[in-house]
């Protein structure tokens, strides 16, 4: 029976306790804390009425997500492990726990139409083995309903997910929007699987599944496709009929979740923990070995001390501000900052250019409603595309920095924080102030003003040649000029409206760029700090271990033969004990 990562950490902690190395112990404590709150977020997405909530319910075996014949899910439901069933409602202001039976009042479209309670999400805790392994299921409202804000929200949640399940029912093959969504999801989150639901209802589900596989292959998407029936699963859960359960297709899906999703995450956790444990023990062992060889041949002690001192200096060098990795990191972050900023600006400029063309084409007041919706959607998708790109580049940079820690076992990366903040939250909506109407009254007034001027002008000229002030020529001129005045005024108002709209648009884009830029800079700064701390700590630990080895070696020079022999047996026993731990951990 192999040890779990938690057990490995405990074993290592016990083993190094006697050496009085608080820095190494801290590292193991951190590893333990990381393991304790390791979650795998599985996002369940798809168009509405495809059976997403039923799928989540089937997976956990409890009616946690509202299910209805009409559109049901209003807010995302997060299902995670808990000792006793709990329901927590999460608002922007804070979290409140509510009684279990009130769940549907918050999560369903019926109880909370259009999310008027303004919830971020609902959290449900359940005691289930699958969840206890660290799986967190997120049931999202369907994409593509009448209010497709849901779509943008789902896209925004993608980068923070460890895995994605795309749900589609077996009544029909994939539609163009679904494949488009899948492609986007693949770009952000590599662990994507497709689920075909409701196989109990459609006799032809096999041919649909084959077609879907073809579509996936055509689009170059490498994702597995599972066919399930939630109805059968429910029946199996209630009757305990294993045959029906096998028929429902759920066991295969659960195995996939365990093997591919959880195991993948588990593998990562195991690897990084093992790495931590081995590094810590390795450093202690190195110290003991150095002491051992010093005790065994006192004449070569000076040579040993020289080597150790050199190594210590190298480690100290890694700690310095001028170390090469520090340079790579700071240069990289500066470059990244500039690139991300440029990318955002470029996207926004494109939107503004396109938008201004549309505005110039006519009276903007007539198209404003449609226009503002379009503009806001375009800006949102540009911002999310930009942040996805920034995340990918940041991951790449972290890898480059790690390469500096050459052959050392130190190339393990810390968990990088991912920007999940919504930069649009604090941006006021795109709006333009109601401009003055060019109604009948103002039209009359403008016309009169122009007409009056014309009348006087031509009338006065007329009086010179002996005509009255009001004569046919002057009246004609008055009408002409009055008409021209109205046309000019209308043109002026249209131009003014166009300018107003342009200003509003630019202001909105500017606001969004400002907030999005700030968010991405924050993200990068955080990243830089995390990486720097991580690698500096590593260098420090290395240096301290080497220092201890040097001290031990120096001490051995002064020791007597009998002391040496006693110490040598001690070291041997300690080394053996540590090796046992290593063997146990790596088994």
């Amino acid at each position: 029976m192999p040890t779990t990562p938690q057990q490995a950490v405990e074993l290592a902690l016990a083993a190094i306790e006697r050496y009085g190395r608080p820095d190494l112990e801290r590292r193991l404590h951190q590893a333990r804390a990381r393991l304790a709150d390791d979650h795998v977020r599985l996002l369940v997405v798809g168009e509405f009425k495809q059976g997403k909530s039923m799928l989540v319910n089937g997976l956990v075996g409890a009616p946690v997500c509202p299910v209805s014949d009409d559109v049901a899910t209003a807010v995302p439901t997060v299902v995670k492990h808990a000792e006793v069933p709990t329901v927590t409602v999460v608002r922007a202001e804070g979290r409140t726990e509510v009684p279990l039976q009130e769940l549907s009042a918050f999560a369903s479209e019926e109880g909370n139409p259009g999310n008027r309670e303004r919830l971020l999400h609902v959290e449900v805790g359940l005691p289930r083995p699958l969840l206890a392994e660290g799986l967190v299921l997120v049931d999202t409202p369907g994409v593509g309903g009448l209010s497709s804000v849901h779509g943008a929200a789902t896209m925004a949640a993608l980068p923070s997910a460890d895995a994605v399940l795309l749900v589609s029912d077996s009544s029909q093959e994939y539609t163009a929007p679904e494949l488009e969504f899948l492609k986007q999801a693949m770009a952000v989150c590599p662990n994507v699987a497709c689920v075909l639901t409701k196989t109990d209802l459609y006799p032809d589900w096999r041919s649909i599944a084959d077609r879907d596989r073809l579509h996936l292959a055509d689009a170059g998407i490498k994702a597995e496709l599972f066919t399930v029936s939630s109805t059968l699963r429910w029946h199996a859960l209630q009757s305990g009929d294993q045959a029906v359960n096998a028929e429902s297709g759920y066991p295969a899906l659960v195995t996939h979740l365990r093997k591919k999703v959880l195991a993948q995450a588990d593998l990562l956790a195991r690897r990084s923990t093992l790495h931590d444990v081995l590094t810590v023990i390795g450093q202690v062992v190195d110290g003991l070995r150095a002491e051992q060889s010093a005790q065994e041949n006192p004449e070569s002690v000076q040579q040993l001390i020289r080597e150790l001192t050199e190594a210590e200096q190298r480690a100290a060098g890694l700690k310095e501000r001028s170390a090469r990795w520090q340079q790579t990191l700071s240069d990289g972050v500066a470059d990244l900052n500039a690139d991300v900023d440029y990318d955002l600006r470029d996207r926004m400029r494109e939107i503004v250019r396109e938008a201004e063309e549309a505005l110039l084409a006519g009276d903007p007041q007539k198209i404003w409603d449609q226009f503002s919706v379009w503009a806001q959607q375009a800006v949102t998708s540009a911002v999310s595309a930009n942040s996805v790109w920034a995340t990918q580049r940041a991951r790449w940079l972290a890898k480059r920095v790690a390469e500096h820690f050459d052959s050392e076992r130190e190339q393990m990366l810390p968990a990088l924080r991912v920007g999940t903040a919504d930069p649009l939250r604090s941006v006021p909506e795109l709006s333009v102030r109601e401009s003055d109407k060019f109604g009948l009254g103002s039209r009359l007034l403008t016309g009169l003003r122009g007409g009056y001027g014309g009348l006087l002008m031509f009338g006065l000229i007329g009086t010179v040649i002996g005509m009255t002030l009001i004569n046919p020529i002057s009246v004609g001129a008055a009408l002409l000029l009055g008409g021209k005045g109205i046309v000019d005024e209308r043109k002026r108002i249209t131009t003014k409206r166009q300018n107003d709209c342009k200003v509003a648009l630019r202001k909105y884009v500017d606001d969004v760029s400002f907030h999005a830029g700030k968010d991405s800079r924050d993200m990068l700064r955080g990243l830089q700090r995390d990486l720097r701390d991580h690698f500096t700590t590593l260098a420090e630990q290395l240096k301290r271990s080497l220092q201890e080895s040097i001290q031990a070696a120096q001490k051995s020079v002064k020791a007597s033969q009998s002391e040496r022999d006693a110490r040598l047996t001690e070291i041997k026993a300690e080394l053996a004990a540590l090796e046992r731990v290593v063997k146990q951990v790596t088994a």
């Binding site: 009409d70 009448l146 994939y174 494949l179 196989t199 459609y202 006799p203 028929e247």
Partner: protein, 463 residues
Amino acid sequence: MITDEVRRTLLAAVDLYPQAREVLRRQLVRLDEPLRVAIAGKVKAGKSTLLNALVGEEIAPTDAGECTKVVTWYRDGPSPRIVQFPQGRSLPVVRRDGALEIALDGPADRLVVDWPSQSLRSTTLIDTPGIASLTTSNSLHATRFLTPDDSTPTEADAVIYLMRHLHSADANFLESFRDQGVARATAINTVAVISRADEIGGGRVDAMISARGIASRYRSDPSLQGLCQNVVAVAGLLAFSGRSLRQNDFVALSALAAVPREELESLLLSADRFADGSVERRALLGRFGVFGIRLAVTLIRQGVTEPSALAAELVARSGLGELQKVLHTQFSERRHLLKARSALLALDGVLRSVGDSRLTGAVERILAGTHEFAELRLLSALRSGTVKVPDLELASRLLGDEGAHPLVRLGLPDGCGPREVGQAAFAALQRWQRHAENPMLTRRAADACRVLIRTCEGLLPRR
């Protein structure tokens, strides 16, 4: 009569504009043809299945995958015939198990199927490929057919729009109808159908009830009210199987009804369990679906012993009757009006492209002077909410929203004599006259009241 008036104008136009003679001739012919109703919707919405149900025969091919690839016209004819356009080539008529099989010969943009059928006599049905299809060319075919640009005259007089749930793509599409599409479709000539209604509730026996509930929610949804006339829930597959129920189907279903309840329920848990190797059961499932079988078996258990009674009950439960009634009141009763409208729009397009105004006056006169058009316009305006009048429901009914018959318009029960009709019409007349004189109403509302008054006058019995 409005058709005659339109015909006269068209004939005058043919003489005046020889360059547009072809287009105008077609319009003239169209005036005497049945009403053209297009069936549109997203991929796999069940368009062909519904068409089969409406005709009562399996003439539109259906399949698990995307099936309809070109716009296909189904019209009444003396003998079965399939013609493929643009080549104008006749295709062989092959029927297998009662289903018509069409094998395309080369690239096609349109198929015309002539089929002797009572159901097609008064309306020509047009099946279209689904929108939002992965095969972009299919999607394009449909979109081009349904929303032609300004230069080409519209092909369909009315539209049945199928959706499974109201998806934003559906709403966008309906909106684009309103702007320019088929016959400048205002809400007047579009009916939305929640198709595959049996699948909404996961095939439970009460699925149709919740489907109807959803339909009524959409009906009262303000964003949809301006887009279509009515929303109906229909289970297309069930309707079709009901209309074409065979004796052997009935025997098979009766045999199923004899199986003990629990055993059957366990069988019907999923399609696979039910079919499980048996070819006959598979065929039955293909024809009825899980819901259809559950419903039929329940009905037989409840004591339906005749195939004809079962067929009638299945059709009644499928919601097809409701749809047919809606189609009758919205489309068939107004077919002269809808056809005239299409013709006038086409003529208007010709006048615009020629840049001649000699007949513009005549077109305007018909459009403005015909009271039925005024009613249609007002009805559409009331639905989209641009005009508000008091007693909206009464007004819509009076304008023929639920049917053009005087009794329906006045909300009277069947069998009322001219006396009652006269009294009711007079009461309505007085009501709207009072509203028209109300100084608090806006000018447009007052205009609307005058249209209603005119309608009431028309309803008064002649002495």
